[in-house]
């Protein structure tokens, strides 16, 4: 497989189209003087899944929350569809690391909660939620409570809630880190399919190199102290191979190795 052939046509189109999310010179200093981000600039093209990968402390979750509008940046700006971000908006939906499900609400209410907060009436929002509950494979669990579900199923609810917002950009904060290994693999496969079907932009924070290489169209490798984007990696993997063959593919293994050698000195 020729690397140059695969990359160049993709690069040409993304250069013309405006990016879905554009991060311009973002800095974040937390009260107390901890510098989480320092003048970071990064573009997220439409319809792709871009991972933010890096060791802990590199500010990847901070960057994601600034894009979400959950925390303000100290300086710089974030543009989503060319509009500056000041607060959470309809164009973005968030998937939380710890699921953030309300334990007192059923799967149905949790899934429809974003729409409920938007003020949509009950029958309408439940019809939409129903569709996404089915899409994530939780049909039959609409009236279960989160404590009756496994970790993986809970995150499916979190995902269904985000999808039902029909936002252009999905922000995922280490969504699979709290689910077990087998479930995580299944999730990763589902995610790849989702990116193809949904035509949304996914920004995916992870600390797992394998996960990033496996699911991403692009990986932004973030390094700490001072936090910066050290390189953008485009995993050269043929998705048609199928999940198992892909994980044995030499290109996949090489990319994992290459990222690990960049990160190695920053761990510990």
């Amino acid at each position: 497989m020729n690397l140059a052939e695969k990359i160049s046509p993709v690069n040409d189109t993304s250069a013309v189209e405006t990016p879905a999310v554009s991060v311009k010179g973002i800095s974040k200093v937390y009260p107390g003087g901890v510098q989480a981000l320092d003048n970071m600039t990064l573009d997220f093209p439409k319809g792709e899944l871009i991972s933010l990968l890096g060791p802990s402390g590199c500010g990847k979750t901070t960057l994601l929350k600034i894009i979400a509008g959950l925390i303000p940046a100290t300086s710089g700006e974030v543009l989503v569809n060319d509009k500056p971000v000041t607060r959470p908006g309809n164009d973005r939906a968030f998937v939380f690391q710890d699921f953030a499900l309300m334990p007192w609400a059923t799967v149905m209410r949790n899934t429809a909660f974003g729409l409920e907060l938007r003020g949509m009436d009950k029958s309408e929002r439940e019809a939409i939620a129903e569709k996404y509950i089915k899409d994530v494979g939780l049909s039959g669990f609409e009236h279960s409570y989160p404590h009756e579900l496994s970790g993986g199923m809970r995150q499916r609810v979190g995902l269904a809630r985000a999808l039902s917002m029909d936002a252009d950009v999905l922000l995922m904060d280490e969504p699979f880190s709290a689910v077990d290994e087998q479930t995580r693999r299944k999730f990763q496969e589902d995610l790849i399919r989702l990116v193809e079907v949904e035509k949304k932009t996914f920004i995916f924070v992870t600390h797992s190199i394998e996960e990033a290489v496996y699911v991403s169209d692009k990986i932004a490798l973030l390094l700490p102290r001072p936090s910066r984007v050290s390189e953008i990696i485009r995993p050269d993997i043929c998705r048609e191979l199928g999940p198992d063959a892909m994980r044995r593919d030499s290109a996949y293994l090489d990319t994992v190795e290459q990222i690990w050698s960049s990160l190695r000195s920053y761990v510990e």
Binding site: L70, M102, L117
Partner: protein, 254 residues
């Protein structure tokens, strides 16, 4: 059969039978001439109900109790939520309620009587002083410790401040708020009886102190017994209300 034996209801009844048998036994030894048996107490309770003195006593006791509990609930939960949401309100409010909680009530009663007389107001205040601090402090702690990710979720999905409080913070805090309410209400019951014993003998407090003074110990314990039963029933209802109002997940898991 085995299921019947370990069923919660069977165990509850068994626990009642045990306590009442022990009481009956202790009364028959007797522990003290002033300590009637369970059956004597029940007979006295029947007399008190039939001769109408219970019917006359309860409205008097329930008035300061109900008003005090309602005031404590509304004001207590309200200020607890406010203190949980705002640091400034916490600095202002927390010391007052902590002092109130640790103040020895019996020592304050003469002061209350001087300020508010021996009427309803002083009694309501006694109930409030007993009931409110634990309601406020529990509510405050519960609201302050709402899981951060849930409120962040509410903001990420563009919930208004009001929606986040009513749909996320309050339900999330409700188990602790209701735990505070249960403690507060039972303290309120104690406060209401204390007020009747220490300020002016009315209602159930009067039944207790009058029957004690004429050595009708059966009736005295019957009056005490009745207020405990009432308090327990009320607390049970409170729990039911909690589960159906805020936490259907708890009801299903039981």
């Amino acid at each position: 059969m085995a299921q019947f034996i370990v069923h919660p209801r069977t165990l509850k009844i068994l626990s009642f039978i045990l306590v009442f048998s022990a009481w009956e036994y202790a009364g028959r030894i007797p522990v003290s001439p002033a300590f009637p048996t369970f059956l004597e107490t029940m007979a006295a309770l029947w007399d008190l109900i039939m001769d109408g003195s219970m019917l006359k006593a309860y409205p008097e006791t329930l008035k300061p109790l109900a008003l005090g509990v309602i005031i404590s609930t509304i004001f207590g939960i309200g200020s607890g939520i406010w203190m949980g949401l705002s640091r400034k309100a916490e600095w202002f409010g927390a010391p007052i309620f902590i002092v109130m909680q640790s103040a020895p009530l019996a020592a304050l009663i003469p002061l209350l009587v001087m300020a508010y007389g021996i009427g309803l107001t002083a009694k309501i205040l006694v109930v409030c002083i007993m009931a409110m601090p634990v309601i406020v402090l529990n509510t405050f702690n519960a609201v302050r410790n709402t899981p951060h990710s849930l409120t962040e979720m509410g903001r990420a999905f563009q919930g208004s401040q009001f929606d986040i409080i009513m749909k996320i913070i309050v339900p999330s805090a409700s188990p602790l708020i209701f735990a505070g309410l249960r403690l507060g209400v039972s303290a309120g019951f104690i406060g209401a009886i204390l007020a009747e014993l220490l300020i002016t003998p009315t209602g159930i407090g009067d039944l207790i102190s009058y029957n004690q003074s004429i050595a009708e110990y059966g009736k005295m314990y019957a009056a005490i017994f009745s207020i405990i039963v009432l308090s327990v029933i009320f607390l049970e209802l409170l729990e039911k209300a909690e589960h159906s109002l805020f936490r259907p997940d708890k009801r299903e898991s039981l």
